[in-house]
Amino acid sequence: MLIRKPSDIPSSEITSPESYTQFLSRRRFLRNAIAGGAAAGAAIAGADRLADVFAPRIHALADDTKLQTVKSPLTTTGEQLTSFQDITHYNNYYEFGVQKDQPAENAGVLPTRPWTVKVDGKVKQPKTFDIEALLKLRPLEDRVYRHRCVEAWSMVIPWVGYSLSEFINQCDPLPSAKFVQFLSYYDKHVEKWTSESNIDWPYTEGLRMDEAMHPLTLLTFGLYGQVLPNQDGAPVRIVVPWKYGFKSAKSIVTVRFLDKMPPTTWNEQNPNEYGFYSNVNPNHDHPRWSQKTERRIGLPLFQQRRTTLMFNGYGDQVASLYNGMNLNKNY
């Protein structure tokens, strides 16, 4: 076993051991609950072994949650991380229910293995990537990003992944590819909560090619140094830190290169409220509420409110992507 010096250990691994235990105990609880149901009264050791038979997927996750990561210069500094508990229990993942606590309860049924990501559209040749291959494609980096939801709340999340551009380079997109579309996993028999809302599934999002190729745009496999919990978009998702959270599609199954702007879920639902770009912009209000301020999740009542930053504070890196564009029209 490799014993690392303290300075080599990424901060994300140190921050929240108690929440890591909570995560593990939840997995253990699930495992034992399933095993317990199958063989009531079995000894703990026996129950664990039975669990392997009845819930191999959960077991695989429980033992395999840690990810080997490296530091990244693109990480955001000077922010207090949101707790693992809050990041995993305050989710918008409507395929598993529209209440914030529902995905944590329901997303356990998402089958994250086997998992493949299909690449098609304007590419030299359509390809399919296995999730295990994607995990090994590049070293996984610790990237702390601010996360700003269009609903005016925010978090600071230590993601794990590598720049989406690294993956796109493997896809051989044609010069005619101007946009990239992401399609999320959808199976109405698994995600039976989709019938509770009036939305066209599967969830789809998209980026302009230069946005997708920006080094900050992250192909994400984990958070807090471990694999993504299902409710956070396991096993692989997009994270675009300067855009509202809904642009960061979860549980990606298809990446499609296109010569024109793809339809995107919330834009289709209401184009006046959710534009294609959806850059975090305190100067352009959502029709129904102000975007000037936000609530930081996990802080006490009267300390939650804070000012929202242009491009979520990533303006130095990304503002040039939108030179000459009217951001009030292209919201």
Binding site: Y90, I297, P300
Partner: protein, 206 residues
């Protein structure tokens, strides 16, 4: 109904109506309001306002169903005032935690944002009803005028439901149950009184 049962039932109603508030206070003290305390308070108080308003609107149709349910009227004021109580906390939550006591935020919201306009209208409609809820006010106004004034509750409830629909994202159907209940209760009034009229007419002609 005898006095003892009435007192017991009223006590139970008080406990039931206060329990969401008590839970919020308990969670605030123990710091267990969840990841987003602001929205927990706003959603809980908003939902309970509508719930209690709709329960108070259920009293009349239920009484029309059977004369044996006439005692329910004794609970209507209580439910209505609790709806106003939760609406007031809901508004205070907005002022303190959303607008941050900032008047310019409030003026922008009230002029630009339709879901806030609808919610604020609902509250303004509830104000005179709460103010004239005392027995003294009923006597002072006279039953007929008081009744007419209190028809405003229908509009308050409708504004409240619209406020709820305009607050959620398009496609989210969480306000559906309350909406259907309100529609049924509002439609039940003309339907039930029509049936009753027919019944009395028949009784007279026979």
């Amino acid at each position: 109904m005898n006095r003892k049962t009435l007192i017991t039932l009223k006590t139970l109603t008080w406990i039931a109506c206060l329990s969401p508030f008590a839970l919020l206070v308990y969670q605030a003290i123990t710091n267990t309001l969840g990841p987003d305390p602001t929205s927990t308070i706003a959603l809980t108080t908003g939902y309970n306002t509508l719930l209690m308003l709709i329960l108070s609107l259920a009293v009349t149709p239920l009484r029309l169903l059977s004369p044996r349910l006439s005692w329910l009227i004794k609970f209507r004021r209580l439910l209505g005032l609790f709806a106003f109580f939760y609406a007031s906390i809901h508004l205070a939550t907005y002022v303190a935690l959303y607008a941050n006591f900032n008047l310019s935020v409030f003026t922008t919201d009230i002029t630009k944002r339709r879901f806030i306009i609808a919610g604020f209208c609902a509250y303004l409609l509830l104000l005179p009803l709460a103010a004239t809820s005392t027995t003294w006010a009923i006597r002072r106004l006279g039953g007929k005028r008081w009744n007419r004034l209190h028809k405003l509750v229908y509009f308050a409830a409708i504004c409240g439901i619209i406020h709820y629909w305009w607050q959620v994202k398009p496609g989210v159907l969480s306000p559906m149950n309350l909406t259907i209940t309100l529609c049924v209760l509002l439609l039940a009034r003309p339907v039930l009184s029509f049936i009753q009229k027919r019944r009395t007419q028949r009784a007279v002609s026979v």
